[in-house]
Symmetry: C2
């Protein structure tokens, strides 16, 4: 997943509150509504079947086997690589095999960036190699690398008060350490340095940037992720150090002697290429033109096999829709899965889908995304028309047995659903434990062996029951106010390839 979902201070606050187990959900949720006096918006038959569906999902390994297949038979699938193309082919084949209809690849243009090799070493006072990886979008160095003194700074915000003469000609080192927590607090702060730290350092004349990984792993497996650049700033190479390597660099700095670092990188940009969003659906019976959209992203970072980010999401939504489609009474609305292209490196697929389907936006009744791995679910938030919240409360009651509490109205839909939400599509967020996620996220350790089939099933159970109910919900979820900015490529591109090389 990208930064968007956890970047909202309101969401962070909400989650901080909800993480205190002794706080009842009603207390933690300023926007919660009282239980409606109106009759339940679902028929008893549908509610009963949703519960049965939830139970069936708890003993079904379709999703887990999809995760195994995608990580084993495709593996890393960074946008624009052969793995990305293999993933698109895998997705089409898989959805067809599972009986989805209207399966198609919708073209998406994606940037192509080549990681190459990255080496970082402390040159003085005590030479030692460091384990580092280039940040996504970093430029490379000259073959002999760049060597300079290191200047530490804690966060991206702290950089603002650094005078140019402290930074110029040096390698900037962001030291902020993300702590482990259920709500992923600290990721936003760490990822701010990753996204824009090098660009701001470059403005101050830095010749390179390194950062402590924006993750909680104690392993020497650094954390990659996308940078953001604006045109006109000559780019500088940027790398993440694993937490143990950042510790070592801080230890040497603590001795009070000048610390010199050498960075060597062969990272480079390689134009653009074609990828695709893969879409498939199970047509509804009765309200076939109305769509309940479940999203996940098909691309991954290249260091691991993208198991939790986001093969689990692909597996979970696919299995959830398949199981929901088999329930009786059949879903009235169409259940659509969208496997987005290039979430990680610019949300290309999200923007392309929104642009291609803008005319049909009114038919997108509700959206949900799975992009926080397959960990313990604990909460549901909803951004729907206020008068439709009773529907959500009724849906939550069906998944309460999974440990899922209603946590209010602060929902984003996730990174890939953002553009659709801004066009008015209501969204739900399923919240899951982010603590183990950020041990693995964007590192080489995001691999299949870390996926727990029991937790996958719990997520499928939640998505299946909720999607099934959404497909039956009388009157839908209303519309959200449109955000007045153009959709399409101009919507907050996460990464602009630097124009200078």
């Amino acid at each position: 997943m990208s930064l968007r979902r956890l970047a909202s201070p309101l969401v962070a606050l909400l989650l901080t509150l909800s993480a205190a187990t002794s706080v009842p959900a009603a207390t933690a949720v300023p926007a919660s509504t009282p239980t409606p006096a109106a009759p339940t918006p679902f028929t008893p038959a549908v509610l009963s079947e949703a519960r049965a569906l939830r139970e069936r999902a708890l003993v079904d390994d379709t999703a887990y086997e999809l995760v195994r297949s995608l990580t084993n038979e495709v593996g890393p699938r960074l946008a624009g690589t052969p793995g990305d193309a293999a993933a698109v082919a895998w997705a089409i084949r898989t959805l067809n095999n599972l009986g989805f209809q209207n399966v198609r690849a919708e073209p998406v243009t994606v940037p192509r960036w080549v990681r190459g090799e990255a080496r970082a070493e402390i040159v003085a006072p005590w030479p030692q190699p460091l384990v580092a990886t280039s940040l996504g979008g970093s430029v490379g160095t000259a073959p002999e690398g760049v060597e300079a003194e290191v200047v530490p700074v804690t966060t991206f915000d702290d950089l603002k008060s650094m005078p140019r003469e402290r930074v110029e000609g040096r390698i900037l080192f962001f030291t902020f350490r993300m702590e482990r927590s259920r709500d992923g607090e600290g990721y936003g702060k760490a990822a701010a340095a990753r996204g824009r730290g090098a660009a701001e350092a470059a403005k101050l004349g830095a010749v390179g940037m390194v950062m402590r990984s924006a993750g909680t792993s104690t392993s020497r497996t650094p954390h990659t992720g996308a940078q953001r650049w604006s045109d006109g700033i000559p780019p500088i190479p940027a790398m993440a150090l694993s937490n143990p390597d950042a510790d070592l660099l801080e230890q040497q700095l603590a001795a009070g002697k000048p610390v010199r670092l050498r960075l060597v990188s062969t990272a480079r940009w390689d134009g653009e290429t074609e990828s695709a969003n893969v879409v498939g659906e199970i047509p509804g019976e009765g309200l076939r033109d109305e769509i309940v959209l479940l999203g996940a992203h098909l691309d991954s970072w290249d260091l691991g096999t993208g198991a939790h980010d986001d093969a689990t999401g692909v597996g979970i939504i696919t299995a959830a829709v398949k199981l929901a489609a088999e329930a009786k009474p059949r879903p009235k609305r169409t259940l659509r899965v969208v496997f987005y292209a290039n979430e990680e490196f610019g949300l290309s697929g999200a923007r392309a889908y929104a642009a291609a389907h803008a005319d049909a936006i009114e038919r997108h009744v509700l959206g949900m995304e799975s992009d926080l791995g397959a960990f313990q679910p604990f909460g549901l938030t909803a951004r729907v028309a206020p008068d439709r919240l009773p529907l959500v409360r009724a849906m939550q009651s069906v998944v309460e047995s999974l440990g899922i509490k209603y946590l209010g109205t602060e929902a984003s839909g996730g990174a890939d659903l953002g553009p659709l939400r801004e066009l008015g599509m209501p969204v739900l967020d399923l919240w899951t434990d982010a603590a183990p996620y950020f041990d693995l996220h964007h590192t080489a350790n995001d691999t299949f062996d870390k996926v727990d089939p029991t937790l996958v099933r719990q997520n499928v159970a939640a998505y299946a029951a909720i999607a099934y109910l959404a497909a039956h919900a009388q009157g839908g979820f209303g519309r959200l106010p449109k955000v007045e900015r153009p959709v399409g490529p101009a919507v907050a591109p996460a990464t602009t390839p630097p124009s200078t090389r």
Copy 2:
């Protein structure tokens, strides 16, 4: 540490028994003697001071700061590298600064092996990169690498029943998985494949060898370690895969299609060079010619900074001797620390020390080593003259409050003390929790951030009290029967540089 200590089936059995907490030590220890009726072999003043010393050590961070210093200011120190030379200089400087006497470097010839780069990738059926590292002593490949079909086999022993036609022209893959346990069970089985697996595979015509890492880490940080070759076998490249990468390779094999692997390595041998054992001591008062030897090894593997293997050992024995030397009454015997050269890659220092000090072997009253990291101590074993066991029981009673039980007479002294033990020197083993050790051992994750100062202090307390008591023990510990084989370079070299390239 090397394989030796955990390889004994008797020790493994003993530890398996002792790991069951409900089994009293007396039941688990066939060789235990009844509590002696004889008067205690230590004066009340010495016993009292040993207890006070133990308590002082529990609030002393000398060892922890030495570990910090060695890992930060030297870092990786594979035999024959600049880091190795820096470590020798560090050790001499450090021992002199701490007031040790007769500090000296005793020359040791060590082999020089260069890791270079290692790449492994699955070529078919589903191409994926793997994280791998060359085994210590591996030869490299041709620049284009070696590509062949993979043949799995579980353990080194299973290889014996493989027909040549199954292996010839292929890459052999040892799949045995070491489980996590306090006694390090399974390491011997895994390390057997590491040491001799490639040589035996080469005899059957294999063109390469890969193995699941001989460690328990779930991180993509493969486990290195020394190979053993006999002259006359043309060597083949050999690598370890991290556990997640071995899982992936097994997943692809499980599909039943031929799996092809490509290995590329620039590993090479580079002759021999000089290193040194570093020796320092605190002379005794009264029995100055008699030596209580505490050993650890100064070298490390190159992937991490050798924090638990064996900077902690260096720190622990150094701090223990320093603290013991400050106790009153002063130690009667001389307390000597030996920082061995090149334990990891052939026990060069252990053999050189035994050869250089063979004439003085009778003066080596007792030896102890610290080479299992700094984890929770739980037991003490002793190989001493049987009539001296009451001394050991009295010593154990002083450290019982640290959770250290008497676990019998199966003691090896550890890898570096083996040659001295075979010459007749009695030895004690302090047993510590091996479960976390084998998560880190020989991997890139063996770094200072994994060192817990509380556990370091507990180890120092145990070694300090025991060493202090050993320096006062009336009548010493007797002698062990000599093992009739020549000492010096001919004693079981762990690695013979392949003669064919």
